[in-house]
Amino acid sequence: MDLSFTPEEESFRDEVRSFFRDKLPARLSTLVREGKRLRKADMEEWHAILNERGWLANHWPGQWGGPGWSVIQRFIFDNESALAHAPRVVPFGVNMLGPVLIKYGSEEQKKHWLPRILDGSDWWCQGYSEPGAGSDLAGLKTTAVRNGDVYVVNGQKTWTTLGQHADMIFCLVRTDATAKKQEGISFLLIDMKSPGIEVRPITLIDGEQEVNEVFFTDVEVPVANLVGEENMGWTYAKYLLTYERTNIAGVGFSIASFERLKEVAQSQKKGGRALADDPLFAARMARVEIDLANMQTTNLRVLAAVAGGGAPGAESSMLKIKGTEIRQEITALTRRAYGSYAAPYIPEALEAGWNGEDVGPEDAAMAAPSYFNNRKLSIFGGSNEIQKNIISKAILGL
């Protein structure tokens, strides 16, 4: 057994590092490091830089503009990206819709939509969850009824992340109300500017407007925007969800935020010494650091097992559960580390471009909102309870 990267992987990592050093604007990495909320233009700027290098859609085949990386290379890239405090790639077009179109889309759809994902012409959002269909996603009720050359869509989607910026939404819709619930679903691409669409923001626990409700009233969608076959949408949806989970462990994010935590624990004082030297706090930090080191190897073991190609299956559920628990624990410790000064709520301080005077230590204002915001990690993308169901069924055979 040898845990080190191969010389080729090492030199790939060096190449990736020098890319981040040369091409990642300091303004963006500062915002990410400080935990500020990025604006649409910030995310688009980073996409354009990655796309110029050909690294935006790093798991797409070369034919469609991907770099042809192995899963280990992708892991290295994602890790280095987080360590460099690069903005995360907005996943909806690149990581979710892209793979579905490549596997199930028509040639016309691929030629039309894939380049537009890469060059930023379309900002995509995801129309999966509904008020009555969360963990039970297949219980969705939004309908699409064929009428000549169009589908007429009625219903409601919710938790639509960054839908306020979106040009397009990919939606799961019910096209056969009489079939078994998984068998009457289709996968439609819908223009957000269509008449009959209304987007209403949902304010989250930390005051951020990150997710939305999307209402559809007699929205007409060209039949050409059906992906694959009618009533086969559940198959595509499941395929998409495995991609959504590929990097869900977020090891790189955890390493980066743990480094920040160590800095905070050094600068914060408790009883006349650094908080990092307080035995109880030090024990909390050590536990999560060990968990994280273990997680890193678990992640690599899973990737090595699937290195032959494709996305990990039920193993990604393990990565999701443990990875999100670790990320949440680090945000909890960071909040805890600021003591009283985690309490002031300075919403302006969370936004990019704010230059006001801090209350208490620099960046303290981000700690509690970030902790509360990250409670979502164990809920979205299939809640951790659903992941445990998958493990029970697919791995344990129970």
Binding site: D136, I202, T203, K270, S340, Y341, G360, A368, N384
Partner: protein
């Protein structure tokens, strides 16, 4: 053994719970909680007219209660409704003045609810120091995250040193400034800066050798109040989460039918019961003669509710799923309070260490 409250105390609790249930829905609460001043003065007036502050003080201080169990029932009811009005400042500042004697007029104003008071102890980046100047004192430095600082017309200020010095400082004294803000879960707080504030000798609260006892009286009452408030908030969250488990259907059944969720809810229930017991222990010891037993029980209670508060908050959000993450839904604000209460008057680690040190 009898775990029932006295009739008087039960009536007090019932009156308060009813008034809050009818007159303090979450929208009213949030409108005050996230306003500039961080509370609703009209609500404050209504509640103080019911005698809620008076219940926190004994007759010698102008009230009609003041025992540990009085503090417990009042703050449990306030916690259950997620009240942000400045009761904690009244309790802590008032108990400090009552323990010291003197400053009767200010104390009477606090007990009646006419005077809003804040208790300023924790130091900011520049600790507050007091230097003798003539007969009086000069204060300089900043107190950090003082609850309800922006609303207060008087501060009880603790100068942290071996034998603490305590001062009563009107907010309009020359050289006193407040940077006020909301806190994450709603409510007001602020950093209070003393820029060479000159005080007369009469600003001193208590005399030589009294400082620690005054601080213990105020902080002890504050710890009991926060612990009871947390248990009240936990009770609300438990009921809301149970309701959701019964009502929300996925896969054709209420999600409360899933054993994985049942067991987690059962853990939440028993940890809340343990927290309730911790508060009862603390309220009982609060009035006892054994100062060390009192301090230990208070540390135990604050430790317990810090740990359990985070558990209840995190589990209630998780069991709700996305809806628990929304601003619109009351549980999210309760969850924030239950987590952030651990950032007031020392967190669970602090109180665990204190408990050990007192052992």
């Amino acid at each position: 053994m009898n775990f029932d409250h006295t009739d008087d105390r039960r009536m007090l609790a019932d009156t308060l719970v009813r008034a809050l249930r009818d007159g303090y829905p979450i929208d009213t609460r949030n409108a005050g909680a996230y306003s500039d001043v961080g509370y609703d003065p009209a609500v404050w007036q209504q509640l103080t007219e019911l005698g809620i502050v008076s219940a926190l003080f004994d007759e010698a201080a102008g009230g009609f209660g003041g025992s540990g169990f009085d503090i417990m029932v009042v703050f449990e009811a306030l916690g259950r409704a997620l009240v942000v009005e400045p009761f904690l400042g009244a309790l802590m500042a008032g108990r400090a003045l009552a323990a010291a004697g003197g400053h009767d007029e200010t104390l009477a104003g606090i007990v009646s609810g006419e005077t809003i008071a804040a208790f300023a102890q924790e130091d900011g980046a520049t600790p507050v120091t007091a230097t003798k100047s003539g007969d009086g004192w000069t204060l300089s430095g900043t107190k950090a995250v003082v609850a309800q600082a922006g609303a207060a017309s008087v501060f009880v200020v603790v100068i942290e040193q071996d034998e603490p010095l305590v001062f009563l400082v009107p907010a309009d004294t020359a050289g006193v400034s407040v940077r006020s803000y909301n806190v994450v879960e709603g409510g007001g707080a602020g950093d209070v800066t003393f820029d060479g504030v000159t005080l007369g000798a009469d600003a001193r609260v208590g005399g030589e050798g009294q400082g620690q006892a005054i601080v213990d009286a105020a902080v002890g009452a504050g710890l009991l109040a926060l612990s009871a408030e947390a248990v009240g908030a936990m009770e609300f969250v438990k009921e809301a989460t149970l309701g959701y488990l019964r009502d929300r259907k996925q896969f054709g059944v209420p999600i409360g039918k899933f054993q994985a969720l049942q067991h987690r809810m059962a853990t939440v229930l028993l940890e809340i019961e343990q927290a309730q017991s911790a508060v009862i222990n603390a309220a009982s010891a609060f009035d006892g003669d054994d100062a060390k037993a009192r301090a230990r029980a208070l540390a135990a209670a604050k430790y317990t509710i810090g740990r359990t508060g985070a558990l209840v908050a995190e589990e209630s959000i998780q069991l709700h799923g996305g809806i628990g993450m929304t601003w619109e839904y009351a549980v999210s604000h309760y969850a924030k309070r239950l987590v952030m209460i651990d950032h007031q008057l020392g967190d669970e680690d602090h109180h665990l260490q204190r408990y050990i040190a007192l052992g």
